[in-house]
């Protein structure tokens, strides 16, 4: 059994609870022991350094130090949390001045960080630490005949100076996982582009056009479903899909899964366990296909 300090991030504990539930479901099936971090704070949503750079270091340095105290690596389920924690980790490991400043603060709350923690997103934790063979072995349903469009988004890939899971120019981790579950990965250009979430409350038109065009391209390539490793992308792609359709003046109707839900249905999770009723675009068609695919 592999143990991680579990850092779900804010959205998975608030509007995106279905992601947290699906993650716990697959962790249980795959033998991943998730240790909750009730003391961990928000990472700052990818924009906190625009308020104060040192605040980003302090609050995320504290999260890293909490995991280090327990001798654990951190598992994340959100791209932006992954990038923020990874960036701070790199900064603390490579910049002695930043480490000293952060440790002065941490000492006051009884913590210390020395740079031993690794931050892993669940996509790469499953691929590298669990292994795709074990995933295949545990699957009870095949995703055969389903065209699945992987949407990486940004912060799981870029900048590669901080997140180093995959080839930033031509990532394959997602495709490998989809193939391992029997699905057919859809190849499309916008798979590594931006969903626009970071400006959704600032400039909705910019934001939703990015999400809309990605969905439209995947639809044109005959995708049955799109999958994202990030709850922020999921908000842009699913919750805002109707707005995105208006913004690009195209008809959009593509179901969007969180990555752990995709793995979850292959491991036997049902409609209710995966929280599909909380999605904007219905997943019933996909579930009907999966139901026929007993292994």
């Amino acid at each position: 059994m592999i143990t991680y300090a579990y850092y779900p991030g804010c959205v998975a504990q608030e509007s995106g609870k279905e992601l947290d539930n699906a993650t716990k479901f697959i962790a249980d099936k795959l033998g991943i022991n998730l240790i909750p971090m009730p003391e961990a704070s928000c990472c700052g949503g990818g924009v906190i350094d625009g308020f104060d750079k040192n605040l980003k270091l302090f609050i995320n340095g504290r999260t890293l130090a909490l995991a280090e105290k327990d001798g654990l690596d951190i598992m994340t389920i959100c791209n932006t949390c992954t990038l923020t924690l990874s960036e701070v980790n790199e900064e603390l490991i490579n910049n002695p001045e930043s480490l000293e400043k952060t440790n002065e603060y941490l000492a006051k709350i009884g913590l210390k960080y020395s740079g031993k923690v690794k931050v892993k997103h669940i996509l790469y934790a499953v691929r590298d630490d669990i292994g795709l063979d074990k995933l295949k072995e545990k699957a009870v349903k095949s995703l055969k005949g389903i065209n699945i469009a992987p949407f990486y988004g940004c912060h799981i890939l870029r900048p590669s100076s901080a997140v180093k899971f995959d080839d930033v120019e031509n990532p394959q981790g997602f495709e490998e996982l989809i193939k391992a579950l029997g699905g057919e990965p859809v190849s499309y250009g916008r798979r590594t582009k931006c969903c626009g979430f970071q400006t959704i409350l600032v400039n909705e038109a910019t934001s939703t056009s990015l999400a809309g065009n990605a969905i439209f391209e995947a639809q044109e390539k005959n995708a049955d479903v799109m999958v994202t490793p990030c709850p922020l992308c999921h908000l842009s792609l699913d919750t805002y899909q109707t707005v995105a359709a208006k913004s690009i003046n195209k008809k959009l109707s593509l179901p969007i899964l969180h990555l752990p839900q995709l793995i979850g249905i292959a491991l036997g999770g049902d409609y209710a366990e995966m929280g599909f009723s909380r999605h904007n675009v219905s997943l019933r068609g996909i579930m009907a296909k999966v139901r026929q695919n007993e292994i």
Binding site: C10, V11, E14, S15, P38, E39, A40, S41, C42, G44, G45, G46, V47, I48, D49, G50, F51, D52, K53, N54, L55, F58, I59, R62, L83, Y105, K108, I109, C154, H155, L157, R158, P159, S160, D167, V168, E169, N170, K193, C194, G196, Q198, T199, L201, V202, N203, E204, A205, T206, S207, S209, L210, N213, T239, Y240, T242, S277, R278, H279, N280
Partner: protein, 331 residues
């Protein structure tokens, strides 16, 4: 070893729509994509059009999309591209109209560079310095001139002055894809470079105020592409974030973007968490809420609503102490 180049071709005078043409070229050790294109032009097809000049990654002329990513053709070797993609696929940069084949029209990009006033403000502003101009005979630069290392020591900025205006970041920018009026990474990184120049005489903070207007610094989508794909190792997005920090510290908070960031910081300072409802309200105000009402109502019907009141994280005093230590409690 032979390899294939698949080139985007389009001549608006004769072609109805763009098409691709393949060429077979013989590789040699160390061959760059630009070497290969020059070989095609001189030996196979003289009509293939592309910009090039220095062949040393200094002038930025030969920027183009190579296997889907904006790169300098002179700095990109053929063999690793073939190893990864099996072909050299060349296309014009994105986010700018195509003039012919791999050549794009650069006016929109340079208009945005001009918009941020890429020169030192001060004495010369009264002299109609809104346009680039060559020094007149006998005219001297009135500001002190610094050596690059002096500027770096003074400001800590050791990357933005290295920009060669090649447009790779602009071509990859998610913000420009979504909003063609957005200033983009190169112009905003330059804005930051001038904001922190100790010689700049921006008395009333006009750079930060103008940069905060719509289509400015707050329209960055944080996609990190500009940093990832800059051929000179510059990180425009980090400059943009520093602009954000400087703007908020100077209390220039009229934009939705700054309100958004302040609200997130406030929410973490109060609860340790990001309060989705409060942040949405603070960023967009009442009009934003009304605009999003149908979407929010739909999500609410599905049970996808965040809690109205957030539970504090455990040991919340640790976070309060971070704010106190950094003197951020009042902000």
């Amino acid at each position: 070893m032979e390899f294939k180049i698949r080139a985007y071709r389009f001549n608006p005078d004769t072609d109805e729509k763009p098409y691709y043409k393949e060429y077979t070229v013989e590789d040699y050790p160390g061959m760059t994509v630009l070497n290969a294109l020059i070989k095609v032009k001189s030996e196979l097809d003289g009509t293939l059009s592309f910009r090039r000049s220095c062949r040393s990654a200094i002038c930025g002329s030969c920027a183009m999309k190579i296997n889907g990513i904006s790169k300098l053709a002179c700095k990109t070797q053929v063999s690793p591209e073939i190893e990864k993609f099996g072909i050299i696929n060349v296309e014009p940069l994105a986010n700018m109209p195509v003039i012919r084949d791999l050549i794009v029209e650069q006016e929109s990009f340079f208009d945005k560079i001009k918009e941020i006033k890429p020169y030192l403000l001060g004495q010369r502003e009264d002299e109609g310095h809104d346009n680039f101009h060559a020094l007149k005979e006998g005219e001297k630069i009135s500001q002190p001139v610094y050596y690059k290392y002096e500027f770096q020591n003074l400001t800590g900025n050791n990357d933005t002055p290295n920009c060669i205006l090649c447009e790779c970041c602009y071509s990859e920018c998610g913000g420009v894809v979504g909003n063609p009026r957005y200033l983009g990474p190169a112009a905003l990184a330059k804005l930051y470079r001038y904001c922190e120049d100790p010689r700049d005489n921006d008395k009333n903070g006009s750079r930060l105020v103008n940069g905060s207007k719509p289509d400015g610094m707050w329209d960055c989508v944080h996609c990190q592409s500009c940093e990832e794909f800059c051929p000179k190792g510059i990180s425009p997005v980090k400059s943009i974030v520093k602009l954000h920090e400087r703007t908020i510290k100077n209390s220039i908070t009229f934009s939705a973007g700054s309100k958004h960031v302040v609200s997130i910081a406030k929410s973490i300072g109060e609860t340790g968490r990001l309060d989705e409802i409060k942040v949405a309200f603070d960023s967009g105000g009442i009009s934003g809420l009304i605009n999003d009402l149908p979407m929010a109502f739909g999500a609410g019907l599905k049970g996808k609503i965040p809690p109205l009141r957030l539970k504090l994280i455990k040991d919340m005093d640790d976070i309060r102490l971070a704010y106190k230590e950094l003197d951020l409690e009042e902000k």
